[in-house]
């Protein structure tokens, strides 16, 4: 791990034990709106904060805007489900299509650190096949990038989070910087059931340090990862990239909602970002603009940024903005055991299998799914039970049985479909800006994957001794909506995440993924942002003007 601290000192900049480095925040460099900074980034989540840290390290004058607060985990987060409502993006959004995807707590976050603040913590890599699904399987799309080009960035980010897990036998086999964590009752059931069915299951990969990491403490196995880790054990950009960015002169402006990207008709370049802070409209000038607001807000911002050159929204010359949005089908199957599993103890992310990730020629469907532990807390579990049609006395009776249940979740690779997209709704938000309308409909392949995954989860739980199994259908992990492509007719950005239409405008979040595999996306989003930052920095060193495309 030599060189890690030279590359990213975040874990050493935090106080020993839980807490924040308030001095670092108090002494943060501040730019004036009319300073033309080198880069302004919309959104300080997985993609945005990684880019911010990399560019600040390279000496760029960088500003990150985020709509939400600059969290202090000790003061602002609680070890409680209902009390964590403020972690989610709860501005209005409209959902539709034949299979609408509920948003809120299950899909998007806000504030510095983004959705990773309350993500579960699974950080698998994509498989090499994910970058070639069209050529190899005849579905989805090929990336304008090879797996091998992303590998060094995967390795870097895995060291910076850091990731713990067993040696990973799937995809491009690799090891992890930290040893696997001990498993709880839920993980134990998964391993036992998988073993009995001849399915390979492994512990990891989770972005939770095993042992001290810099000044960050050890996980205390308290199971509230989805409510934000008060301990600083689980990674989120708030603790893995933001401290180092601040130490290198970046400014983060929380509570700042970007409403429009500035554009100069004469030069054809982006000029900065319009945003609202404390109710006042402001404009930050910048040489480069990067948008990293998550798969719904990123397309929404582009669509709302109209001008004479872009009457249908910025970068939308070929009607690509907002399209090919994807969620993973995420059915959850729970099993009832005579023994007490108490699945809520320990972090929800523990054990996974990727045995079913790749296309199986014997099956009628293409691509596949992964299976992981999930460990719902009482409210989420009650929704699971209520979804079976139980209410009243039956609901209370089921709930009293909570300690006896184990729960697995699948991630099914839904295919990117043109009509699954974000458009602008009639409805407006508090700022008077049209909100996103998100429409989703599944295809046959999607539905086949959902039922195949359910059958495997039922098989595993039954083999582990479950007396009864119940399943609910859920969806997780939105990606796509401003995808990367080889040419401007098929996507919004190129392999370096620069938009085809505006040379100094980048998109650096999950929106750029052309396919999603059956892996949780955060690690890949960070790796892509780190790679894009590398290209920008190299270009600047070579003296290439920012308005010229690289590579």
């Amino acid at each position: 791990m030599s060189g890690l601290r030279e590359r990213n000192e975040s874990a050493w900049l935090l106080p020993a034990g839980p807490g924040t480095n308030s001095k670092l925040r108090d002494r943060m460099r501040r730019y004036a709106d009319d300073d033309e900074v080198d880069v302004v980034i919309v959104g300080c989540g997985a993609g945005g904060a990684t880019l911010l840290q990399r560019l600040a390290r390279a000496g760029w004058r960088a500003v990150g805007l985020d709509e939400g607060p600059f969290w202090d985990p000790e003061q602002d987060w609680v070890s409680d489900e209902a009390g964590s409502h403020h972690l989610y993006w709860t501005e209005p959004r409209v959902i539709g299509g034949s299979d609408p995807v509920p948003l809120g707590s299950n899909n998007s976050g806000r504030g510095v650190g983004g959705s990773m603040v309350h993500f579960a913590g699974y950080t698998p890599r994509f498989h090499p096949s994910d970058f070639r699904t069209f050529s190899w399987d005849g579905v989805g799309a090929d990336w304008p990038l090879e797996y091998g080009e992303l590998r060094p960035f995967y390795e870097d980010i895995e060291a910076e989070l850091p990731v713990s897990g067993e040696r990973w036998p799937w995809g491009d086999p690799h090891g992890y910087p930290h040893r696997p964590h001990p498993v709880s009752g839920n993980g134990e059931i998964f391993l036992r059931g998988a073993n009995a069915c001849g399915i390979t299951a492994k512990v990891g990969p989770v972005a939770i340090a095993n042992g001290r990491f810099g000044n960050r403490p050890h996980c205390i196995y308290r199971g509230f990862c989805l409510q934000g880790c008060k301990v600083n054990a689980k990674a989120s950009p708030l603790i893995t990239h933001v401290p180092d960015a601040l130490a290198h002169g970046a400014e983060i402006r929380p509570d700042s909602m970007a409403t429009r990207i500035g554009f100069d008709e004469r030069t054809g370049l982006a000029t900065g970002v319009e945003y609202v802070h404390d109710g006042i409209n402001r404009f930050q000038r910048a040489r480069i603009v990067a948008v990293a607001g998550y798969s719904i807000e990123t397309p929404r911002l582009l669509l709302n940024s109209t001008s004479p050159r872009f009457p249908e929204g910025m970068c939308n010359d070929f009607d690509q903005v907002g399209r090919y949005l994807m969620v993973q089908g995420a059915p959850q199957t729970a099993g009832r055991f005579q023994a007490e599993v108490r699945m809520w103890k320990a972090p929800p992310p523990e054990v996974s299998t990727e045995d079913f990730y790749e296309t199986d020629p014997a099956k009628p469907y293409k691509r596949g799914f992964s299976i992981q532990c999930v460990s719902p807390l009482p409210i989420t579990w009650a929704e699971h039970v209520a979804a079976q049609g139980h209410w009243g006395a039956a609901l209370r009776r089921y709930m009293s049985d909570y300690p006896h249940w184990a729960c697995l979740g699948a991630l099914c690779e839904f295919l990117p479909l043109r009509e699954n997209r974000v458009t602008l709704a009639e409805e407006t938000d508090r700022h008077g800006i049209p909100v996103a309308r998100f429409s989703y409909s599944q295809c046959d392949n999607d539905r086949q994957l959902m039922s195949a995954a359910q059958q495997v989860m039922e098989r595993i739980l039954t083999a582990a001794g479950a007396q009864e199994v119940i399943t609910i259908n859920r969806y997780a992990h939105l990606v796509g909506g401003a995808r990367m492509a080889a040419g401007e007719q098929d996507g919004v950005v190129d392999r370096n995440l620069r938009s085809f239409a505006v040379p100094n405008l980048l998109v650096t979040d999950g929106s750029v993924l052309p396919t999603q595999g059956s892996a949780n996306p955060a690690l890949t989003i960070m790796a892509l942002a780190a790679r894009a930052a590398g290209v920008l920095v190299q270009g600047a060193r070579r003296g290439t003007p920012m308005s010229m495309k690289e590579d």
Partner: protein, 213 residues
């Protein structure tokens, strides 16, 4: 406040003597304030009209089988969320936003009761209320008073479950000890309990084995 009433046959008494609130000295102050706040006098009803409040009370008592005191004040908790517009933000394109959806669906409950029995939902006998609710639950995607029945059912149960299972007294009957910071857990694994957890005394009380519902 003593425990919530729950008959043994309905899953009561499985964790004798267990109390989540008794763990409060082990919670961090921010979390403790949030959880203990739920034991305080609930906020007055501000969002629901009196007629809506009556229908909502009867609805939540049915959905959560709360027919005697002490109760988790679910009506006040949901009303407070709606008054503060503390919703999840999103709504289906064939449903209004949550506040309006609550008003519309509670009004529909009363209209349905009126057309069946000539009185409001709250004034129906308990078994009549239960039958009416089961009918809505069974309708699936069909429209019910102009709203998709499954979406209405989802709205009601989502808010009901979030309020009820956020309450420490509800945790007592499901064996959940609540917040776990900064203490954490030390005994991980099947059938391994912390010293403060209480083992289920009726592990054979498998709810899936019962014939009803």
């Amino acid at each position: 406040m003593t425990g919530l009433p729950l008959a043994d046959a309905d899953g009561g008494g499985r964790y004798p003597g267990f109390s989540a609130l008794a763990q409060a000295p082990h919670w961090d102050p921010v979390t403790a304030a949030v959880v203990q706040g739920r034991m305080a006098l609930p906020p007055d009803v501000r969002f629901f009209t009196p007629a809506e409040e009556a229908a909502a009370r009867a609805l939540f008592d049915q959905l959560l089988d709360q027919h005697a005191e002490p109760r988790v004040p679910v009506v006040n908790m949901v009303d407070a969320r709606l008054a503060e517009d503390e919703t999840d933000g999103w709504h289906y394109d064939n449903m209004p936003r949550d506040g309006a959806a609550w008003r519309a669906s509670l009004g529909a409950l009363d209209r349905e009761a009126q057309s069946r029995e000539g009185c409001t939902f709250a004034l129906l006998p308990l078994d009549g209320q239960a039958r009416l609710l089961q009918d809505i639950c069974d309708r699936g995607q069909d429209l019910w008073h102009g709203l998709p029945a499954d979406r209405v059912w989802g709205l009601w149960t989502r808010y009901a479950c979030t309020a009820f299972y956020s309450h420490p007294l509800a945790w007592d009957e499901i064996g959940f000890a609540g917040p776990a910071y900064p203490r954490g857990y030390k005994n991980l694994g099947v059938d391994r309990l912390e010293p403060f957890e209480v083992r289920d005394v009726r592990p054979e009380a498998d709810p899936t084995r019962r014939a009803d519902r």
